[in-house]
Every structure is written in C-alpha cells, then in structure tokens.
Symmetry: C2
Subunit: 471 residues, 2 copies
Amino acid sequence: MKSQRDRSDLRAFFEPASVAVFGSLREVFGLGYGVIRNMLQFGYSGKIYPVSPYQNGDVLGFKAYSTVNDVTDPIEAAIVITPPPTVPGIVEQCAQKGVKAVIIVSENFAEAGGEGVKYQQQLVDIVHRTGIRIIGPNTVGLFNAANGFITNPYLIVQKKIRKGGIAYCSQSGYVGTAAQPLEDRAIPVSKMCDIGNKCDVDEADLLNYLADDPETKVVAMHLENAKDGRRFIDAARRVVVRKPLLILRPGRSEEAARAVASHTASLAGNEQVYDSAIKQVGAIRLDTWLDYWEVPKIFAYQRLPSGNRIAILTLTGGVAVLGVDVAVSAGLAIARFLPATADKLKRIYPRLSSNPVDLGPILSVSDNPFAVEEEVIALALNDANVDCAAVSIYAGFDDIVAPIVEMFDHLKERITKPMALWIYGMKLSAMDEMSRQLETRGLPTYFYLETAVKALGVAAAYARIRAGLEE
Amino acid sequence: MKSQRDRSDLRAFFEPASVAVFGSLREVFGLGYGVIRNMLQFGYSGKIYPVSPYQNGDVLGFKAYSTVNDVTDPIEAAIVITPPPTVPGIVEQCAQKGVKAVIIVSENFAEAGGEGVKYQQQLVDIVHRTGIRIIGPNTVGLFNAANGFITNPYLIVQKKIRKGGIAYCSQSGYVGTAAQPLEDRAIPVSKMCDIGNKCDVDEADLLNYLADDPETKVVAMHLENAKDGRRFIDAARRVVVRKPLLILRPGRSEEAARAVASHTASLAGNEQVYDSAIKQVGAIRLDTWLDYWEVPKIFAYQRLPSGNRIAILTLTGGVAVLGVDVAVSAGLAIARFLPATADKLKRIYPRLSSNPVDLGPILSVSDNPFAVEEEVIALALNDANVDCAAVSIYAGFDDIVAPIVEMFDHLKERITKPMALWIYGMKLSAMDEMSRQLETRGLPTYFYLETAVKALGVAAAYARIRAGLEE
C-alpha cells in the first residue's frame, strides 16, 4: 500500500507531459478522437499518442499506434475509453510501459454488476501489483484549467474555461465541465475531477492533492459516500486548514440513500454520521445543485469577511426583506450602521439611514444615479460595523451594463470587504453580459438574491471556522 | 363602504376603455410620456388622454390636455405620476369627471412619513366620499397581458409578454414586469399587479378579482402584510376553491419583520399567525424569489397530478439522487414501476428498470438516442403507479435543441400527466432557446432540478387540497 503522501500525489493525472489515448479514433464520432479534439481545443500542449489496433496514419496531426508498446518515448498518463473486457489488458500494458496514471472513462464496471465487477477487481489487482494509479472507471475524468488537459471524450462546445480558484470534484458524470455554461458565465475553475467508481484514487486522495494545489482556493465536492471514513476525515481536515471545503451530499432521505446504492453499487452510509463528520472537520454542507455551482465563487474572488454582519442594499424594499430572512437563516447578522454613516446616508437622502438600504427612491429622482449608488455602497461597506454586503443591481436593458461595470471599477478601489452582487432585470442579454463582465473583474454575481446572501453566509461561516483553527 | 362584490370589481383598473395619464409628458424622459410609450408598445388600444398643464400639442399621437376637465369624452381610468402635493387634487378632479379607477404611481406618501401621510389620508377620504377607487400610491401598478394595458412608466425593453395563466401580485415595486426576463423566458402571464401602499384596493380585493378572472389559472402573491385578516382569509379561500394560490411571504425572522415595518410603514404581523392562516385557507407558501417566479408555471401549463408519486428521469445517477431528496422534502413519493413497465424498460436496457431512471448509460451507446429517450419517458409516465415526472434534458450545444423539441412534440401526444423539465448544459444559448421553445409548447422548464421537482411537489400539494375541498 502506498503511503498517504504518495497516494495523494496526483500530478501525473493533472499535469502529464505525455498521454496515450485508447479508444475509437474514428473521425468526429470516435471517443478517442473526441478526447484528443477536446485536449487541442483547451490548449493542452503535452505529447499525445493515439492508440488503436484499428487505426493507421495520423489522428488530428498525431501519429497513431496499434499498441502502446510501439511507442518508444516514455508516456506519463493514459486515457482509456474501450470496452470493459479490453481494459485490464490495456492497463497492464500501460503499467509495463511505465505509465504512471490511467483515467478509465469506460462504463459498465462494478456499477453495472455481472462481468463488470470482475473487470473492476482485475483493475484493483493491477494497481496493487504494479503501483500504477487509476481514476475511474465510469467517469468523465478530469480537467485542468492551467494546462488544458481534459479527459472528457464528448463534444465540448466551450472554447475556453476561465482559470481561477474553484476545484469541483464529484462522483458523478455530469457534475463536470459539461454540466454548466462555465464559459458563458465566466466561472473561474482550477480543476475538475469525477472520481467515478474509485477503484483506486478516491475522495481522500483528491482532497489531499487539492489541499496542496496552489491554484485551488476553494474545493466544492459532490460526495455520495466516502471509501474510507478515517482517511476522508483526515484529508478534509487538511483542506479546511488551508481553504474552504464545501460539500454537496445528497442522501438526507432514506429514498435517496437507496438511489445512491442503486447507481453506484456502494452504500450511501448513514446520513447522521456524514452530517456530523462534515461539521466536525469544519467543512460546510451545501444543499442544492444551484449552491454547488454558485456559492464557491465567493471564495475564488473575495477575501474572507472578518465577521458576520451583512449590509443589504437593494433597489426595492420588498426584496430587501427577502434577503434579511435568508441572511438570518444563513447565520448572518443584519449590521447596524455607525451614527456617522447613518448621518452621511441621511444627508444623501432622508430615508437611506438604516440597513437594509433601499436605494430605489433616491435613484429614481437622482440626476446622477450611478454616482449616488457608488457613494452609498462605499459608505455602507466602509462602515466599521459592516463585514460584507449583498448589493442588488439592475440589468434592465443593454445600455445599463457599461455604467454599472464602470461604477464597480471605481468601487473596487474604495472597498476591500467582500461583496456578492445580485443581478436582476428584464433582459436576459443584459443580465448575462453584466454577469460576465463583473465576474471577469473578480466580483461574484448571482441571479437570485437568496444565493448571493447564502454565499456570504458560507464565507462568514468559513471565516469563523478558520479563526477557530488559528486560536 | 362598498360591498365585497363591488370592492372586488377591478375591471375598470385592468380593462379600461379609456385612460388619462397625469405626469411629465417631456419626450423620452417624462414619466407620463413613458407610460404612454409602454402602453403603445404592449398594444393597448383604448383611448389615451395625456394630461399636463405644461404640455401643448400631441404626445405620441395623442392630443394633450391641460386638465382632465378639458376632455369632453368619458374617461374610465387614470394613471397619476405627479408630485404628492398635487395628487389629491387630481384624484378629486377625476372623481368629479366620473373616472372610476386611479392608479397612483407616485411615491413619498405614507411610506415616507411626514407630509406624505397627510396626502395619503386625503386620498382615503376622497375614496370614501366619492366612491372612486385607487391602486397605490407608491406602486408600479398593473399590467394586463390580454389587452396590453400597463401603468409602469419606466423603460420596458420587453416588446411582448406572453399571454398565459399566471397572475403575479405583490406589495413591492420590482416584483413586477421589470423584475424578470419574462419575454426571453416566455413566462405566461395573465395579469400583474403591485398594490403599493394600499390606500384603497388591497390584497383581498385583488384576490377576489383574480378568483373570478377566467384568464388566470394560478395566483402567485408576494405578501408582507394583510390589511384586514378576515377579508384576506375569505378572499384566499375563494381563490383556492378555483385555482392554486401560492404565497411568498418574507418575515420568518424578527429582523425581516422589522425591515417590513421600516419600508412599508405597516406591521408585518405575527409570523405564526400568517403561516397558519396560509395553511388553513389551503394556500401554499413559497420561500424564495426563485420559486415565486418559477413554480407557478407548472399550473399554467399542466393538469394537476392525480397523486404524489413522482418518476425522476435523469442522464446521470448522481443528479437523480439530488432530485430524490428534494422530492421527499416536497411531499412527493418516489414511484415504484409496475412489473410490466419494469420489464419493458429492462428490455430496452437492463439497468433501466427502477425509479429514478438513469438514462445516461443507454443514451451514450444508442444509435437513436432520441427515440430511446422518448420511449423511456412515455413508459415511465404512462405507468399507473406514476402521477408526474421530472425529466432532465441536456442542452449541451445548439444543434441539440431541434431534436429534443421534436421529441417532446411526440411525447405531448403520448402523455397527459404533468411533467417538469430540467434543462442543463454547457451552452447558455442552447439552454435559453430550448427553454423558450418548450415553454411555448406548454412544457414548464427549469434550470435547476430542485425547482422542477419542487414545482411538482407544489402541484401535488394543491391537487390534494383541491380533492379535500371537493369531498
């Protein structure tokens, strides 16, 4: 058995200098072809060796080989997308060739029962015997935004995914690059990894690796079950002392636990045991798919709040009240402005002095609404009683995008505390464009006030956990 | 005091044959000008009389008048967007002229304190003395999709809002047409109404009116406080026997209740009293802004489920499990397929026999995935043990939109039970286009599985309430 340190060295998976691709190389539709096309699309610049007994000549400019033994250069990683009966033999050949890391994308192993169980056991045996490492099988594998390395063989229409601080990890195929409009939304990603059936690399290995990964600022993990509770807890602790760990774990209901058992061929484990383990290690549990994708970016961009006191600035009092409810249930306190701040706000407009701040009445009568809005946001966030703010902005029409973005360019110079922006409006194109432009500037945007407030609540919760660890 | 029946006759507000507009008629930026522009944009074909002492000549093709007394024709409704001190006088003139309904968009009445309280009291006095009816003040007023009548004076970039069955009502300015990309998402609207400060027309009047409105199939109401608890309860009951009433009521936390008091100059009322009143009348409480906009459409399009047994069909097992958790907490039961259905599914693919159904493995190996998907969806929904289904569809790239839409065109012929579709994918343009096309065909679409499942849960809950009423 490898040492914990060795086990968590996943560099050969995420940063291979060379990779062999096993799978159909048929143009366009072959899955081996697909993965090479995707690697090129994302700018992977390592050496690529297509391998298939059925293909001669070049594939996308790379010479194809009948077997990996025909390649004379060393190969660091392999991607395998061939029928299950052929996979153990291929992995065995890879081990003999000196390949360190294999990602097995093929399905129909343990999760399918029958013969698949046998093939998966053969893979486990090869790992133990040879020391080769495996991610999968039954996975879309991984994506590394830093070097463009990707193992997903299906059509990816994204041309580019933004490099940034979020690592998304999962046990499910479509909780990956293909599951979200990452490019259109400019979500900042460091790495993504689906660990599939975990015949070797598991969530603990991945967490240990990401704990040390300098590009990852926050880890978002979709977890149905941990292979080894003790190792998972230790690895989660290692993450939490360095960066936030957010866990989406379904299975609160018995029905869901049964569904996990049926699709992963493994037990979901006891809900209460998981829930308390997650709390105990200082990870933060998320409840929804929406939160899994949207909450982490607050950590990718913004510093941690020094406390839990939130200011809520909206353009309508009614919506502010909704935000207050969410804030309270997310563990935030509604900040009370210092008298000096209240005075300054009152001078701008008599009814502006208390939190939540309803900017609607003043903006509708102001000759220069953007300057007023900027001033109010700066005053609120620079109040010593305020630790963070949810700010709503109106993307009502396309022409409003530029002045709003400019306003936030100014505000970035004036404010250091974390903000979450809630964009709403009547024109989708304006909402999307404003979101993209603000995200590119490092400001987390949300289309639902509840999510913006919840993200700040999670940030404050992690700040508290972190402070507790440092005491 | 008017009778309950008279009070709830709001036809003059929603269907006026003629309307006077009081407000600045300055081109482009004047708010009186704005509301006329918006009425024309949405195709309102009644007579329009711009009224302003500062304007001569025509406004957008309509002759302007200095006072309403100069108009010789009868006028049914008026929209007032002038400074508060001028408003009581204008409403008095309208009453003398025989105008039946006035929508006062101007702010700074009771909600602002001071002189505003006095002006609002004057409006109340005029209502009592003359019998004229008022919506507002401090409101964007209303929108009627059937005739294009709109009272919002601000820039509306939507060219058209889809006519359909949802009435949205609120006590807040931006819970209106301008708050959501209604056109881009093809959300089907019957009427929208912000009742503002409720100096006359209140939530009970509005509910009574909408209960009888044949175009409204579901009422979504954002409610902070009821003016008269007894009347509200009676009106809510009248709605619930005819159509679902969904209520978004913030104020679960004390902090939120305080915020309501501050922005509406009225008490939020006791949370527990409201919560039990909502349950008692058979209304269904919503918790978030997202649900307020997204849940109602399940009723606009689909028949009620006959029970609470849901089938969940996804393209990945991991996501299905998330759906199961939401279903259980939304009061749904996970359907068990009849043996005959399970057999047929098994014949299509061995691992398809149980619910939730993970379509991923079969679709990835099928030569005709759309035909297989269609067959599986039809089998699941036509099982006698299934009352409704959440179906996930993948909008990964633009070219997939057409075949998916075609598949649902076939399915609409084969299925009568309610479905909620969860659209996800990596390309925003494909997601948006697929959503629009399917909504136009009467299929409710969601971008989050949780919302799709929750909507079915709300539908099943209302079906149960309705069945209870009919017993």
